[in-house]
Amino acid sequence: MTPFTTLTSIAMPLIRDNIDTDAIIPSREMKTVGKTGLSDGLFAGWRYTEVGGRVPEPGFVLNDPAYAGAAILLGGANFGCGSSREHAAWALAEYGFRAVIAPSFNPIFRGNCVRNGIVPIALEARALAGAPQPLAIDLPAQTVTDAAGTVATFAIDEEAKAMLVGGLDAIDLTLRRRDVIAAFRDAHRTAHPWVYFDA
């Protein structure tokens, strides 16, 4: 995973509350058993003029040339609610988004972002959604700076920050604790033997 420290980019506004993962990537756009080939399906229901088509809907922000190349997405409250499909994060990442700024996130979606190098930033995004402007994200400092130089700080849990800044693979990290896990599991099995089928 690509480490994330700082990023300066135009921010694309899609300020709607409760944007669900079906909207981010409709189930019908998840065509293959894999994690790639999803960016064309990103926001497909809003982005194209008809279902399954690829004719851009001119009124949708993803098709607005003023925001071309944006790596920051601005969203509404409860962003990423609904289905746990990680395809939503894969599609956003493949399209080129590296950060989403929204007042709140669904917990499963937020975790999926962190596992895929996308920084979920819990901030009121509406104030940042005026004319197209570059925003500067500093993850180690936990700040977002707008074009006028106004600095907003955001909270992110230490684990998520460490994974993103280090570009770390969680499985590798955890497997280093293999012996600790095995010992704990043996003790758990002794106390709760009915839990285990792998006697």
Binding site: D22, E86, P107, G111, E159, I181
Partner: protein, 470 residues
């Protein structure tokens, strides 16, 4: 120190405190389905990471498979077959138990896991599916994850989890006649909102919760994810123990007695503190239906579509207007006047035997209104067989419902079957998002009995209102 039920389960699974509020948590069960499970297994195999404990992992086919009679690996959804075959091959290679097509145990993952007693009180259980919170109904800590986290759980038997906050909603009193667990879930969503339990483990307590059978509890816990909860949980009691006893994967004999003795300790202690507490009077809960495109946009049956001023604490003006436009409704409009095009009974929310029995009691001797397409999809092979053994299939078929094979079916649109644009659907499912059940489809969430009554009336109707029609 007094502990909550969540804290008791967390503590007995906490391998290590990783600092910063994150714990390395032991995972007792991983469940997979073909939509998100196959990709996790394939990705693990490609990284040459073995599944650490395949005996603790179970997989089923539910999301992509067809539900029409005579189904095969071929799907109406384009490219669906690849998900089925990839999951089958990966499960076999990893040594995972798979409830495949044709297996009488196959069905929706959150229906079959309790049925088979794969979920037990006090367990940690994860599945790459947001409705995994359903299974907290049996007193397990069960939550939905993404595919990467599923890989992590499969490879390490653990997850790195930011410790969730705790919330308790105590519902005392008695639910009124005809008021179901689904109505309670929608009432709570309308009251606390779609972010109302964000990141919390939500413990349901109180006499009205205790009075629910296990199937009702599964329905209630199922929709906790719609209020952004980490999960939901209910303290296990004799109702749960009686439900689990003798089921295939439940402990047996002396081990059963030992397990039950342990499970009896799994309740929040008197004096345990929660980050948030709410109290609800069961008598305030009415049969509910959604009018909008978020599950929080729900009102008591018979009530009109709310004006923005009445819900401005919950919705923005823009969200309210957008939902009305999508649904083809106006402020103050009586929902009962809206003709429906389709009725759907199914999903991990409401497709268990008691759901079908209650719907059948309304359908018996009646016919679905002309022009309404009505579909019933039992939640599992076991539900379907039990329903057929007591003749429920005949009641559904005679009323004009389709009677299908188990699966998630038209709870969501995967590119296959759809209800069609602007079609108004009354549905026992969990999400009324834009285009959830098909591009442009307008979904109204309700209980199975309200779906059945509406199918007969041809418009959104309470079961009680049928007496005047019949």
């Amino acid at each position: 120190m007094a502990k909550t039920l969540f804290e008791k389960i967390w503590d007995r699974h906490l391998v290590e405190d990783l600092g910063g509020g994150t714990g390395l948590v032991l995972i007792d069960r991983v469940l997979l389905h073909e939509r998100t499970g196959g990709v996790a297994l394939e990705s693990l195999a490609a990284a040459a990471r073995p599944v650490a404990s395949p005996a603790q992992v179970f997989a089923t086919m539910d999301h992509v498979v067809d539900t029409l009679p005579g189904r095969t690996d071929r799907t109406i959804m384009p490219t669906g077959t690849a998900f089925i075959t990839a999951t089958r091959e990966a499960a076999k290679a990893a040594g995972i138990t798979l409830f495949d097509l044709g297996d009488p145990r196959q069905g929706i993952v959150h229906v079959i896991s309790p049925e088979q007693a794969i979920v037990l009180p006090g367990l940690t259980l994860v599945c790459p599916d947001s409705h995994t919170c359903s299974q907290g109904a049996l007193g397990a800590l069960a939550w939905g994850i993404g595919s990467s986290e599923a890989e992590h759980a499969l490879a390490t038997t653990t997850l790195r989890v930011t410790r969730p906050k705790t919330m308790r909603i105590t519902i005392d009193g008695v639910l009124g006649a005809g008021v179901t667990a689904k109505d309670l879930a929608l009432h709570l969503l309308a009251r606390f909102g779609s972010s109302g339990a964000k990141g919390h483990v939500l413990e349901y307590a109180g006499t009205a919760v205790r009075a629910l059978n296990v199937e009702g509890r599964l329905t209630l816990c199922n929709m906790a994810t719609e209020c952004a909860a980490f999960s939901a949980i209910i303290a296990p009691d004799d109702t749960v123990f009686a439900y689990l006893a003798g089921r295939p994967y439940a402990p047996k004999g002396a081990m059963w007695d030992r397990a039950v003795a342990d499970w009896r300790t799994l309740a929040s202690d008197a004096g345990a503190t929660f980050d948030t507490e709410h109290r609800v009077d069961a008598a305030d809960v009415a049969p509910m239906v959604t009018w909008g495109t978020s599950p929080q946009q729900a009102v008591p049956l018979g009530r009109a579509v709310p004006a923005f001023a009445d819900v401005s604490d919950r919705d923005t003006a823009e969200a309210h207007a957008r939902a009305l436009d999508y649904m083809g409704l106006a402020e103050g409009e009586a929902l009962a006047h809206a003709p429906i095009d389709a009725a759907f009974i199914g999903s991990c929310t409401n497709a268990r035997l008691s759901d079908l029995r209650r719907a059948a009691a309304i359908l018996k001797g009646r016919r679905v209104a002309t022009g309404v397409r009505a579909i019933c999809v039992p939640g599992s092979g076991a539900v379907k067989a039990a329903a057929e053994a007591e003749g429920l299939d005949r009641i559904f078929l005679d009323a004009g419902f389709e009677w299908r094979e188990p699966g998630c079916s038209m709870c969501f649109f995967a590119g296959g079957e759809s209800f069609g644009p602007q079609q108004r659907v009354i549905t026992s499912t969990n999400r009324n998002f834009e285009s959830r059940q098909g591009p442009g489809t307008r979904s109204h969430l309700a209980s199975p009995e309200t779906v059945a009554a509406s199918a007969i009336a041809g418009r959104i109707a309470a079961p009680a209102a049928l007496e005047q029609i019949a």
